[in-house]
């Protein structure tokens, strides 16, 4: 009776259980790092990547999104089913969340999926809605977030970008990395990814974009709305055959 030994030795049983479970996990997860098609190739006609890391302002908006726990009610993944396509638009691509750490896919949908909410509403709508959802959408159960009108702390943005850089997001530090980004994303995008200019870029985008309806100050609302308005807008699906992304599966 071999299992006798295992059943009478709790330490050994623990090790063997762990082993059995990790084999299951590893077989499912590890190959995805090596399979070429996992992350789709999404490039413009002139070879630039369409999906880019968030600008400093958008990244701050994302941080606030996580701080406020918006993910508890909102997913960010349109699944490849017909009713989802009808309501939200094109299904989400793996490529679209490749710079998300951590990703916001989720499955809890008390509110609608937000993966493609960018461009759907005006900045003005978002500001009013975030301050008090029931004032614009009757019967909404979403909480009020009036404190988003507080000033945004912009001082630590470079540090935040450095942290993301260490986990592989191509924010550039120094000329060489900047040039590499120019190659990959084009000059306009590359400029927004420079850690050296992070705070200046952040303030400039908040001021020119005027997301919260007040140009004079940079608020958390500027960051949040800038983030919401870019969600799902980076890939221009009209530049691809409508089954192009199916060929990656």
């Amino acid at each position: 009776m071999k299992h006798d030994k295992i059943e009478r030795n709790i330490g050994l049983m623990l090790v063997l259980i762990l082993l059995a479970i990790s084999i299951g996990g590893l077989v499912e997860i590890v190959p995805l790092f090596f399979i070429k098609d996992t992350v789709e190739v999404v490039k413009t006609a002139d070879g630039k990547e369409m999906v880019r890391p968030y600008t400093p302002l958008e990244q701050r908006g994302r941080d606030i999104y996580i701080r406020e726990g918006c993910y508890l009610c909102h997913s960010q993944m349109v699944r490849p089913f017909r009713d989802e396509a009808l309501r939200y638009g094109h299904y989400s691509l793996a490529a679209e969340s490749k710079y998300d750490h951590p990703f916001q896919w989720g499955s809890k949908r008390t509110g609608p999926d937000l993966a493609r909410v960018g461009g759907k509403y005006s900045n003005d709508w978002h500001v009013k809605h975030l301050k008090d959802p029931r004032k614009v959408v009757e019967g909404s159960v979403m909480p009020n977030y009036p404190w988003l009108m507080d000033p945004l702390d912009t001082s630590d943005i470079a540090a935040r970008m450095k942290a993301l850089r260490t986990v592989g997001v191509p924010y550039s530090s120094g000329e060489e990395e900047y040039q590499r980004n120019v190659q990959t994303f084009g000059e306009e995008v590359a400029k927004t990814l420079r850690i050296e200019d992070a705070e200046a870029n952040l303030k400039e985008q908040a001021q020119t974009g005027n997301y919260d309806g007040n140009k004079a100050d940079v608020t958390e609302m500027d960051a949040m709305v800038a983030y919401l308005q870019v969600l799902g807008t980076m890939v221009d699906f009209k530049q691809f055959d409508d089954d192009y992304f199916a060929t990656f599966r």
């Binding site: 009776m1 006798d4 077989v27 190959p31 090596f34 399979i35 070429k36 098609d37 490849p80 089913f81 017909r82 396509a85 009808l86 309501r87 638009g89 299904y91 461009g119 759907k120 509403y121 005006s122 900045n123 003005d124 709508w125 009013k128 809605h129 008090d132 004032k135 614009v136 959408v137 009757e138 974009g209 005027n210 997301y211 009209k238 530049q239 691809f240 055959d241 409508d242 089954d243 992304f245 199916a246 060929t247 990656f248 599966r249």
Partner: protein, 324 residues
């Protein structure tokens, strides 16, 4: 329990008389286990399964394959057959579902606006499909019935958020089918300069022109001030209001200039003010600040398909009502 097969026990005794049998697994359980193994083999033959370095097995070709019609970026239709995947399956599902609706959408696309409105069968489709499209995309701002949020409507305006009423017969940007279609496709954002066209109106001049605006719709006003305001309203070098609101104050649709002669107040809460001073006050603030929104009404040309926009145009014009 004890009656099942052998009386073999593990030989271990707890608490004087507690023994553990070593019976074999029940038959049905064992067969269930073998069945899952057989199932997994069938699954490997039908679906993507085993990783192979930089690729993976895609099932046996010809077994469980998916057929669909793809549309290339330049509008060509191509028939394809491929191994099963959720994305390919979605292509096939979409083909099938659009097949059913396609007939109707094709009819909408091929029929003139006026003829759609006269055809009860087509209108039934417009009402049903339009309702879904409208609630998914437009209702967040214009409300489900299209009533919008207007400054002059105390029921809907508690937020300071504005979106026009689409169910009335007043159209800021024009109420013909073509104009509504242009509005939906490209979006609309009204712009009104601060302190008049030249940006140079003084506080007093603004008070005068505010009184003139009130006189246009018969709201209480100061007649002397309104007379001075009349001049400012029509003089391009001063207020220049005629450029967008027209010489008669009825509005120039191509500029989005609102009709100021009706009592419909969309952006400025004139009707909510109890007295003349209050009405002049809110207008004073509006004319001093102007209107400078960012993408007030979003563009839908990139989000929705042309036939969906056509359907929504008819829905707004005829179902919600008030089209011209």
């Amino acid at each position: 329990m004890a009656q099942q097969s052998s009386n073999q026990t593990t030989g271990h005794v707890w608490d004087d008389d507690l023994k553990e049998y070593t019976n074999p697994l029940p038959r049905w359980w064992l067969w269930g286990f073998y069945l899952t193994i057989i199932f997994s083999v069938v699954y490997w033959l039908m679906y993507p399964a085993w990783p192979l370095g930089s690729s993976y097995t895609k099932g046996v070709p010809g077994v469980n394959s998916v057929k669909y019609v793809a549309t290339t970026k330049d509008g060509q239709q191509v028939e394809k057959t491929t191994h099963w995947s959720t994305r390919a399956q979605l292509m096939a599902d979409t083909n099938a579902a659009e097949g059913k609706q396609k007939e109707w959408f094709d009819k909408v696309a091929a029929t003139s606006y006026d003829d759609i409105a006269k055809n009860p069968d087509l209108m039934q489709f417009v009402n049903a499909a339009g309702k879904t499209l409208f609630s998914d995309n437009c209702a967040a701002c214009h409300q489900v019935g299209g009533a919008g949020h207007e400054a002059g409507n105390p029921q809907t305006n508690q937020s300071g958020f504005f979106a026009p009423n689409l169910a009335d017969d007043y159209w800021q940007w024009g109420g013909t089918y073509e104009e509504i279609s242009t509005t939906i496709t490209g979006g609309r954002t009204g712009f009104m300069p601060a302190k008049g066209l030249a940006g140079s109106l003084t506080d007093e001049q603004i008070t005068n022109v505010a009184n003139y605006v009130l006189s246009l719709s018969g709201e209480p006003h100061n007649a002397d001030a309104a007379k001075l305001g009349d001049e400012i309203f029509h003089n391009p070098g001063e207020g220049g209001c005629i450029t967008c609101h027209g010489a008669d104050g009825k509005g120039v649709p191509s500029m989005g200039g609102l009709n100021l002669t009706d009592k419909i107040w969309q952006w400025v809460d004139v009707s909510g003010q109890a007295d003349e001073a209050g009405k002049v006050g809110v207008l004073h603030t509006a004319i001093t600040g102007g209107f400078n929104h960012v993408e007030a009404m979003p563009k839908w040309g990139t989000r929705l398909k042309p036939e969906q926009i056509k359907l929504l145009t008819v829905y707004v014009h005829d179902t919600l009502g008030g089209g011209q």
